[in-house]
Amino acid sequence: MPPLADVSVMIGGQGGDGTLTVSDLLGRYFRKRGLYVYTSRNVLSRIRGGHADASVRASRDPIAAQKSTVDVLVAFDQEAITIGASELAPHGYILYDSTAFKSDLPNATGFPFATLVGGALGQPIFKNTAAYGALSVVFGFDPAETRAVIEERFKRRGGEALEKNLKALEIGRKAALEAAGLADRYSVADGDAHDLVMTTGNQAVALGFVVGGGRFFAGYPITPATEIMEYLQRYLPPLGGVVRQAEDELAAVNMIIGASYTGARVMTSTSGPGLSLMTEGIGHAGTAELPIVVADCARVGPSTGQPTRHEQSDLSHLANLGHGEFPRFIVAPGTPVDCFEMTVDALNLAERWRVPVLLLLDQALCQNTTTSPRFDVQRVHVDRGERLTGDAVAQLTQYKAYQFTESGRSAYAPPGTPGVWAEITGNEHDEWGHVSVNPTNRVRMMRKRMEKMVKARDELPAARLFGPADAKVGIIGFGSTFGPIREAQTVLEARGKPTRFLQARTLFPVPVHEIEPFLKSVDVAYVVEHNYTGQFARLLRETMPAQHAKLRSVLKYDGSNFRAPEIIAAIPEVA
C-alpha cells in the first residue's frame, strides 16, 4: 500500500481502559512527523465502565473533523468492534485485546495486552501503552521517536510511571513484531506542518480571556465547559485575577455581574442546563448595561440531554432568551484561533457597548484537539470603550451612567471613582439610574438599548468566505462545522464542483449585510447545523424573508459531529 496521506485510528474500550491516552500518544507522534492532527472522543457521562472511544486523525492537509473511515481500530472491548467495524475502511485492520474477548474477523489480530502487561508489570492498566506499541509497529513508526513520545508524555509524572509505560511499549512492540504480517502494514507520509500547537477550543477561550484582559471568572462545573474554568484557575491568579467556582450558575452569573459593575472584565462559561439557569441574570446585565461575556459550550439538549455529546441547539435560546427585550451579541468561533481572538472581541464588544456577549461554542470545538497556528498576542487590542477615570470625571459637570448619546454608548465610571456614584438597576430607569415609569423615558431607554444591535454592526466579528466568488452552491455554517465544511469544499473542488462557504462568526444580530449579498450571489444555500429545527436557517428566514427560497437545511442531531462526506451527500447539486 502507498503511504497514507490521511490516517485515522479509533480506539474503543470501557471507560478506564485508557483509550484517550492511546489517541494522545498517536497524536503526539504524528505531530512530530509534521502532520495536522485532530483527536476526538465519544464518552459516556460516567466515570468508569461503559463503552467509550477516542479517535485520532492525522493528515498532510489542515483538518478539523473526523475522517469518515477508520484505518486501524483498536478494540479493548467487544462493543468497540460492533461500533467501529462499520466505519472501517476496506483496507482497514483491527487490533484487539484478546484478554477481553475473541474475534473471528479475518482482518483482525488479537493480542492479550492486559495479560501480557499484567504479568510483566503487575498492572494490566498499562495495556493501552502496549497497544500504542503494537500500533507503532503496524504503522512502521520510528522506534526512537515512538519512545520519545512516551518520555515526553510521562516525564511530569516521572519515575515508576514513566518506566512502566516504557516497558509496556516494548511489550506491545514485541508482540506485534512477532505476529505474522503486521509489521509495516501501513505507512504514513510525513508532513510539513510545523510550529503548530495542539489545543482545544476551551483552552483557546481561556487564553483569549486572559490576554483580552479578563480578570474575573465565576463558573460551575458542567461538561463540556469545565475545562475553561480549570485552565483559568491556573492562568489567572498569578495575574491578580480571580476565579471562583460558585455554588450554582445563578450565583456564577450574578457574581460576574457584580464584578462587572466594578469595571472588571468578566466571563462565565457553562453548557445548556447552566445557560438556562442564567437566563434571568443575562437579561439583568442587558438592562442594567453591565458588560458580561457568557461562553456556552453547547452539548446535546434538551434538559440534561447527553452531557458528553455534540450539538448546536442553543442558538434559538440565546437569540431570544429572557423575558422582555434587550440587546445581545452572539459570536461563534469556528477554530481555536477564532476562539482565542473572538474571546478578546467579546470582551471588547461587551465593554464598549455595555451588553452581554454570548460566545457560542459546541462540544466538538470545545473538547476535540486540533493542530492550530500559534495565537498571536500582537493581534490583540484591548478597547475599553468610554471608560471614565477619576481625572476624566473631574472634567465633567454631570455624570449619568445611562446618558443618552449620539453614539449610543454611555461612558461609565466604576464605583470607587472619586466624586461620582454609579446608580445601576435592572428596573427601567432614567439616565441617572433612577427607577422610572415615565412612558417617554421608557421608549427612549428601550431604543437606546436595542439600537446597540444596529450601531455596533461594523464592529462585530465579520463572516469569512471560502471558495470561488462565482460558485453557485452556497454553504453557511458556524462553530465546529467549519472543519468538515472546509474539508468537503476541498474534496468538491478537486472534483470540479466549486462551492462557496460563508462561515458566520456573528450570529446575532443576524449579519444581514453579510449574508444577504452572499445569498444573492448563489442559487442555493445549505445551512449546515447540529440541531433539529434549523435554528440559524430560521433566523435567516426571519430576517431575510425575500431570500427564503434559496435556503436548505443540512441537519444532524444524533450526538455526533459532521464528517465531510455527510455534508457532500446532503447537497444534491454536487453530491
Binding site: F216, L250, A259, T397, Q398
Partner: protein, 288 residues
C-alpha cells in the same frame, strides 16, 4: 463638582421599619468615615431593597434573591470598596437561601443586612420564610436566620438588631462595616424591621426583644453557647437581639484577602497588553 445621581425620597409607607435601617446606615457609614464613592450598596428586590436609591452612594439594584452573589462579585473584583448588601427576608431567606448560606461559607468581607418583616411587603403581604404560623395561612415553622448562621463553621460576624432600637443598630452596623473593612469576613445582621402595612409587629417586638449580651454566660466567641442562649431565649417566647457571634480570629480571613492578599484585584488591574506582555507570551509559549 461633578453632579452625580441624587438620592430620591424613600418610597416606603410612613412608619416602615426600613426607615430605621436607612438612618442607621447613614450614621454608621459616616462614623466609619466611608467615602460615599467607596461605598457600594447592593439592594435586593422588595420594599427594603430600594434602600440604595435613598443615599448618596454607589447603588446596584440586584435581582430578587441575588444580591449576595452580586455583592460578593463586587468585593472580589474590587476589595477596596466597602460593600453593604441590604434586602428583605423574602429576598434573602426564600429565593436567596442558597446564596445566603454560601455567603457565610465563602466569607467575603461584605455586610449583609436582612430587613426582616416576616412578610413579602412589596407583593402585598404574603407569608415569608420567617412568618409565624397562622400569618396569612402560613403552616410552616418560621426560619430562624441566627440559629442557622451559627451552624455554619466560618468566622463570621453575626448579629440581630431591631429598627425600634436605633442606638444598637448604629453600633452593630458600625462594627460590621469596620469588620469588613478590616477584611475579616462576612458580617450578617438581621434587622427586625416591621412592615406597618401588612404585618405591624412594632409593639409585639418591642416587648419581645431581649439583648443577649445581658444573658448570663454570654460569650459571642462560643457558637455552641450562643446557640443554646438563642434557643432558650426563643423557648421563653422572646426574640434574641445583639451580637451573636464575634469571631476570635482577627486576621484578614475574608475571601478577597485569601484570594488576592494585598493585590489590587480584577477591577483595578492594568489590563493593557504592554505591562502583561511577558506573562502572556509565557502562557502562549507553554502550548505544545
Amino acid at each position: 463638582m461633578v453632579e452625580s445621581a441624587k438620592p430620591v425620597p424613600p418610597i416606603w409607607c410612613p412608619g416602615c421599619g426600613d426607615f430605621g435601617v436607612l438612618a442607621a446606615l447613614k450614621k454608621a457609614a459616616l462614623e466609619q468615615k466611608v467615602a460615599p464613592y467607596d461605598l457600594v450598596l447592593v439592594g435586593g428586590i422588595g420594599c427594603s431593597g430600594s434602600i440604595h436609591n435613598f443615599l448618596e452612594v454607589n447603588g446596584i439594584h440586584a435581582l430578587h434573591g441575588r444580591l449576595l452573589a452580586q455583592a460578593v462579585g463586587v468585593k472580589l473584583a474590587n476589595p477596596g470598596l466597602t460593600v453593604v448588601a441590604a434586602g428583605g427576608d423574602g429576598d434573602g431567606y426564600a429565593i436567596g437561601m442558597g446564596h445566603f448560606i454560601h455567603a457565610f461559607k465563602k466569607n467575603a468581607s461584605i455586610v449583609y443586612v436582612a430587613m426582616n418583616n416576616e412578610t413579602y411587603g412589596l407583593t402585598k403581604g404574603q407569608p415569608s420564610p420567617t412568618s409565624q404560623i397562622g400569618f396569612e395561612g402560613n403552616i410552616e415553622r418560621p426560619f430562624d436566620a441566627i440559629l442557622t448562621a451559627l451552624s455554619i463553621p466560618a468566622p463570621n460576624l453575626i448579629a440581630r438588631t431591631f429598627s425600634g432600637d436605633p442606638k444598637t443598630m448604629i453600633a452593630v452596623l458600625g462594627e460590621a462595616i469596620k469588620f469588613t473593612r478590616e477584611g475579616r469576613g462576612f458580617a450578617f445582621i438581621e434587622d427586625l424591621s416591621p412592615c406597618v402595612t401588612y404585618n405591624d409587629t412594632y409593639k409585639l417586638w418591642r416587648e419581645k426583644v431581649l439583648d443577649v449580651s445581658k444573658v448570663p454566660g454570654y460569650d459571642p466567641t462560643d457558637r455552641q453557647a450562643m446557640f443554646k442562649i438563642c434557643l432558650d431565649t426563643m423557648d421563653q417566647g422572646r426574640i434574641p437581639i445583639g451580637v451573636m457571634h464575634r469571631p476570635k480570629e482577627t486576621a484578614p480571613e475574608g475571601l478577597e484577602a485569601k484570594l488576592l492578599g494585598t493585590a489590587l484585584g480584577p477591577a483595578r488591574s492594568d489590563i493593557s497588553i504592554e505591562p502583561n506582555l511577558a506573562s502572556y507570551q509565557k502562557l502562549l509559549a507553554a502550548l505544545s
